[in-house]
Amino acid sequence: MANLSRVLFNLVLATAILFGLIKILSKAFDFVARYISSIDKKTKRFINIGIALMVAIWPIVFINQPYVLRTSIIVLLYIVLALSLNIVLGFAGQLSIGHSAFYAIGAYVTALLTVNFQISFWIALPTSALIAALFGLLLGIPTLRLKGDYLAITTIGFGEILRLVLINWTNLTRGPAGIPGIPFPKIFGFMINTNLRYYYLILVLVMFTIFVSYRLLNSRLGRGLIAVRDDEIAAEAMGIKSTYLKILAFVLGAAFAGIAGSFFATYIHYVNPDNFNYMESVLILCMVVLGGVGSIPGVILGATVLTIIPEALRDIATYRYAIYGILLILMMIIRPQGMLSMASLKGGAKSENSGNKKRNKGLRGLSGS
């Protein structure tokens, strides 16, 4: 009984603190967004170059602090993962809750290829992406033709089935024991075997993911996706193939999750089914929702914050998952569009006063789509 009341007290306390934090942060990020949308192109480029330089020299500064380096690498890894989910959730407006399944596929494909067949990481990486994409296609074709939230349910189921297969297909995956001994990647005889080198490897993958995300967003395809998300019937009346676009986005998201999985396998040198459970999917979802569904800078922010904070607050680790749940609920109530939403970055406060609630729908608008 005493325990129960203590847990309840802690949860209420956590809710109150999160509530306050979200309120304060919302104000702060509104201010930031307004500032960003007001500065001119030249200053913007200047700031971008500054950030790029900082990210590039960051590991050199902390070269003697392996903890900082490792955390930075994990942050970058989650940025790839969160951006991959953002392609599905943010661009196509489809809720996928089993995203870590594709992460798992990427990791296991790389593990099996490099350990069992001594295949080079550079072949294993694209193969992982390809196979994850293939599973995305198999899952997407039947579910995305239907309207509604079928994808969410299907992906949860798929994630669980995959985990059970990984645990029980012991001949191939060695079951719960996992696959150890995944080798260091080698490029033209140059071994990636230090944190510093891994940092630059994942940084390249992050930049590739960001590049593809922006290209997608600003392409015909991206505009088609925006239209489908906004109003599917109108989009179809314009001759936009909504099903095709949604499947494409889903497959692309799966492929990038596969890339992240592949990197994870070579970096940790060990994979086991527990790395890819349902909570992992929820964590990735939290990152996207916190930062801002559909907003690339927002998602990067969300991934960074939600990777660093649990590291910093190891003491409350037992409450981690409860806190993710509370965070999701509070975000949807207080700030459904996320901290750094696309709309606020585009036009700052203007969009708020447009008198149109639908613009700020964020995740809320997804149900019953």
Partner: protein, 235 residues
């Protein structure tokens, strides 16, 4: 230009269209009038390839539209302005219009068509950067029509363009439809407002519970007792 024959459409167990047939001649305005749930929207969605009929044929310029996927039908120039306007609220006026040209690649002609739309609807030009969701109902209807024009239609199908608009705005919009028709566009106009639709159209079809009840010259339908009683509210 368009020949619809014996269309039968089911939604699960609901028999929505029961053998609908009608023809549209090139350059004409044809109106399809009927009450709530008569099957007008279903007819348009079937022509656009968004609903698959159980029986029947749809021919557009000697092509079988039922064999063509919906996005190709738009490419053929059969374009509809959906019921309730359905503007993209997250996009501004110009982005909405450009979405109409989604399937086109002729950049230069697209720009000319954009100017053409702005010429017909100067109000849209004034608001080109305004978000679609913040436009008034009448402006949204203009935007929906403009967006359809950006798909280079040869047959424009309008689903209840007068819905929820003040009479003076309706008049303005119907004048624009007339202008488009005078410039060579064939129009299929779906309406509940029989009076104004029949005044504009050349030919009218009256649809009741999924069937064509009767049809004829629009002018003569205006004088027809059955129409006057059921759709013009006269005794």
């Amino acid at each position: 230009m368009l020949h619809v024959k014996e269309l039968d459409v089911y939604y699960g167990g609901i028999h929505a269209l029961r053998g609908i047939s009608f023809d549209i001649e090139e350059g004409k305005i044809v109106t399809l009038i009927g009450g709530n749930g008569a099957g007008k929207t279903t007819t348009l969605r079937t022509i656009s390839g968004l609903v698959t009929p159980k029986e029947g044929t749809i021919k557009f310029k000697n092509q079988n539209l039922l064999k063509i996927p919906s996005e190709k039908i738009v490419g053929q120039g059969v374009v509809q302005v959906p019921e309730g306007r359905r503007i993209f609220v997250e996009l501004n006026v110009e982005e909405n219009l450009m979405m109409g040209a989604y399937l086109r690649r002729d950049k230069q002609v697209i720009d000319e068509d954009l100017e053409y739309v702005y010429k017909i609807f100067p109000r849209l030009k004034e608001r080109r950067r305004q978000m679609g969701g913040t436009l008034s109902g009448g402006e949204q209807q203009m935007l929906a029509i403009g967006r359809a024009i950006m798909s280079k239609p040869r047959l424009l199908m309008l689903d209840e363009p007068s819905m929820g608009l003040a009479p003076i705005i309706v008049e303005e919009i119907f004048e624009c439809i007339k202008y488009l028709n005078d410039n060579g566009l064939t129009v299929l106009l779906v309406e509940q407002n029989a009076n104004i639709a029949l005044q504009l159209a050349d030919v009218g079809y009256v649809i009741e519970t999924g069937e064509i009840a009767f049809s004829g010259e629009a002018k003569s339908l205006l004088k027809d007792d059955r129409v006057r009683k059921a759709y013009l509210g006269e005794e």
